[in-house]
């Protein structure tokens, strides 16, 4: 009892202290939201309003009646293909394009469940096309971005792509890839006697052009990451030759003749060098060549076969495939050839590594149990993810924002398993959004350009 009396003060203090502690625990209520829906963002693309009194647009003898509607269609197709957006059907739109562009009635757009809205206006004079657009956050009822572009009328598709890129960037936080082109090898004829021509088109398949005639075999065209230059391989008198092609001017240039078994020339990130593999003394090694000085430098020196080199976007590393371990695997080394490290250890063969323009991933083709896979992994070989599987597919090439891969796939062309067809396909990093890229003829070896408007 005495003890109790003596320590009463302390006991009181502790009681109060614990009460206080308990009270302090009534803080801010926190709730963790760890799930959401991954549905594509519903977006309404209102046809662009064409100012009355505008002249009609003539593009190569075709008269485009409603250019505003055409532009909005191109944007819509771009977004649909990206897999990230869900463009809403136009017949559900309540508001007219002209009024929507000035001040949208957000309640109307909310009603059709749109979260973003694109409006715009086109003014056409004789040789000028002025296009302005606004992107609205329908839920917050505010403008997110507004821009205007002026150009010649025959450039209207590019304007549509640039607008798509701006909207994509504003809504996803990463750069778009719509204002780009794809170069590929167009193939016609029987499997044993294919005619191969270089072809180039916009990323949505429009504006197709053939760059070579088809009397020589062309292979592996690759875009320069800096500008609109292409390097490719062609056979001249049965000897492989590396060419440079300026797409803007159409001028071709021979970089050099190389011994047999030359493969896949590719640009360095600064566009000043070409890296490739060829067999000089009977064994395939990796070489670089300075485009200005034409000086050739040997990078690897190993008794095994080293091929398919690709630079990292900072130019410090090179990934390539080699059979030095007995089977074909992917290796990474410093750009001077030192510090060679094997990064793939999975079952099967790995080949055609391509470093993502974002630098975080390497895309590759994997062959395992007779099936071909296109996959990605981190630059250290971890986190391997196979995106698509088929009987024969290879040669992935990155979109400039490092989110989509384009590759080609060979299939039987009819149901009986006869015939032969090669088509271009694209798939994004999620692995779900796989799409056929429409081409006039069969196609292989696609390469994606950097953004034209950069």
């Amino acid at each position: 009892m005495k003890w109790l009396k003596d320590n009463m003060k302390k006991i009181y203090f502790f009681i109060i202290y614990f009460l206080l502690l308990n009270n302090a625990a009534f803080g801010l209520v926190e709730v963790d939201i760890t799930r959401g829906n991954l549905d594509p963002l519903p977006i309404a693309i209102s046809p662009l309003y064409v100012e009355p009194g505008s002249v009609e647009v003539k593009v190569e003898n075709d008269i485009i009646k409603n250019i505003g509607e055409e532009i909005s269609k191109v944007i819509e197709v771009n977004f649909k293909r990206s897999g990230l957006f869900n463009p809403l059907k136009k017949d559900s739109f309540v508001q007219n394009p002209d009024i929507a562009h000035i001040k949208p009635r957000f309640e109307d757009w909310r009603l059709i469940k749109a979260q973003a809205l694109v409006t715009g206006k086109v003014t056409i004079t004789k040789d000028k096309l002025r296009t302005e657009f606004r992107l609205w956050d329908v839920v917050a009822a505010k403008e997110m971005i507004a821009l205007a572009f002026s150009t010649t009328p025959d450039n209207w598709r590019r304007v549509a792509h640039i607008i798509s890129d701006k909207i994509y960037q504003r809504l996803t936080g990463e750069e778009g890839y719509f204002d780009t082109r794809i170069i590929y090898v167009s193939e016609t004829g029987e499997k044993t006697q294919r005619f191969k021509k270089l072809a180039i088109m916009d990323q949505d398949g429009a504006n197709l052009k053939y760059l070579t005639l088809g009397n020589e075999l062309v292979l592996t065209p690759r875009f320069s990451p800096k500008n609109q230059l292409v390097t490719y391989l062609s056979y001249f008198k049965n000897l492989p030759r590396v060419y440079l092609l300026d797409i803007e001017t159409g001028i071709q240039e021979v970089v050099g003749d190389f011994p047999g078994m030359t493969f896949a020339p590719r640009f360095s990130p600064d566009g000043k060098k070409i890296i490739m593999s060829f067999a000089k003394d009977g064994n395939s090694e990796i070489y670089t060549m300075d485009i200005e000085t034409r000086v050739v430098e040997k990078i690897t020196d190993h008794t095994s076969i080293d091929t398919s080199p690709s630079y990292s976007p900072d130019g410090k590393y090179i990934c390539f495939n080699s059979d030095r371990s007995g089977l074909q695997q992917i290796y990474v080394m410093k750009s001077d050839g030192s510090n060679v490290k094997r990064i793939t250890f999975g079952k099967g063969l790995y080949g055609t590594p391509v470093w993502s323009p974002r630098g975080d991933l390497i895309a590759f083709t994997k062959v395992h149990k007779g099936k071909f896979y296109i996959g990605v992994m981190r630059a250290d070989g971890s986190g391997e993810r196979l995106l698509t599987e088929n009987f024969y597919q290879e040669a992935p090439s990155w979109s400039p924002n490092g989110r989509v891969l384009i590759f080609y796939r060979e299939t039987k062309s009819d149901a009986d398993g006869k015939g032969f067809s090669a088509k271009l396909w694209s798939i994004d990093l999620t692995g779900y959004n796989e799409r056929l890229v429409e081409t006039e003829t069969d196609g292989s070896d696609p390469s994606w350009s950097s953004l034209l408007s950069k």
């Binding site: 803080g27 709730v31 799930r35 990230l84 996803t172």
Partner: protein, 271 residues
């Protein structure tokens, strides 16, 4: 003599122990269902997102409270790691430094968020420990020390969960979460290698409408290379606007009028 006393003591103590052991059985009311009921309740709330009717919730809560404490103790991380300091102890500068570090480490997103960013929010400025005031603290001794301890308590993970448990029951939390899950369209182009946590502090009206919302790591929005963060934050705000009014409990407004929602896309994107 002493032997007798010893024996007597021994027998007495045995008796005392026996009584002490049997007492609880004697004192227990013959029919006492609540413990069984509450176990069931926890299972239900863990798996369902349907909120109970207001009245039922109240009565169930009463029963639950006793059990919940037990349950939460087992669920929690070990209670705050800080030393049990006597409140009248004058803190040494070293101790204060340690405390400060602890606060920063215990944040929700410990890796990426830098101090400069964190302090950008008005709400948090008050709560963060200011290292410049160490000297002042030493001078003021008693009350101030007690207050810092209190603040620490608020910021540690375990006590946050504690406070949370007092304000919203599991089913109420589930109902709110389920509602927001449905409204939140995650932007699909998010990068894999970044921290994808957006913390939004809300002031709510009694009916669940939002009076004020603030993004806590606001400075990160306009940082170069963090463009995705702005997009993510906007998507979270959009979700709240679509969801409005939030499904909040009909009672206890005082407890949840300030609500912090942590929109965490890490799990969804990285898998």
């Amino acid at each position: 003599m002493s032997k007798n006393i010893f024996l007597s003591l021994a027998f007495h103590s045995v008796m005392i122990v026996l009584t002490a052991l049997s007492m609880p059985f004697m004192m227990r009311p013959p029919v006492d269902l609540p413990p069984i009921l509450s176990v069931e309740l926890i299972q239900i709330t863990d798996t369902t997102s349907i909120p109970f009717a207001a009245k039922a919730t109240e009565t169930l809560e009463k029963i639950k409270k006793k059990q919940e404490e037990k349950k939460l103790v087992s669920k929690q991380a070990p209670p705050s790691e800080q030393k049990k300091e006597k409140p009248d102890r004058i803190p040494l500068p070293d101790d204060l430094d340690k405390e400060k570090k602890k606060i920063v480490e215990k944040k929700q997103n410990p890796k990426e968020v830098k101090e400069t960013i964190r302090q950008a929010s008005e709400f948090e400025k008050k709560e963060l420990f200011d290292p410049n005031q160490i000297a002042a603290l030493i001078d003021k001794a008693k009350e101030e020390t007690a207050e810092t301890i209190k603040k620490n308590e608020k910021l540690t993970q375990s006590s946050v969960k504690n406070s949370f448990a007092n304000a919203l029951t599991l089913s109420q939390e589930d109902a709110l979460k389920a509602q927001i899950f449905g409204c939140w369209s995650l932007p699909l182009g998010l990068p894999y290698e970044e921290n994808l946590l957006v913390r939004i502090k809300l002031k709510l009206k009694e009916d669940g409408t939002i009076m004020k919302s603030e993004i806590l790591d606001h400075a990160r929005m306009n940082k170069p290379g963090q463009g995705f963060y702005k997009v993510l934050a906007e998507s979270a705000l959009r979700a709240l606007r679509i969801c409005q009014p939030l499904r909040v409990p009909p009672t206890g407004y005082e407890k949840w009028k300030d609500l912090q929602l942590n929109f965490d896309a890490n799990e969804m994107v990285k898998g």
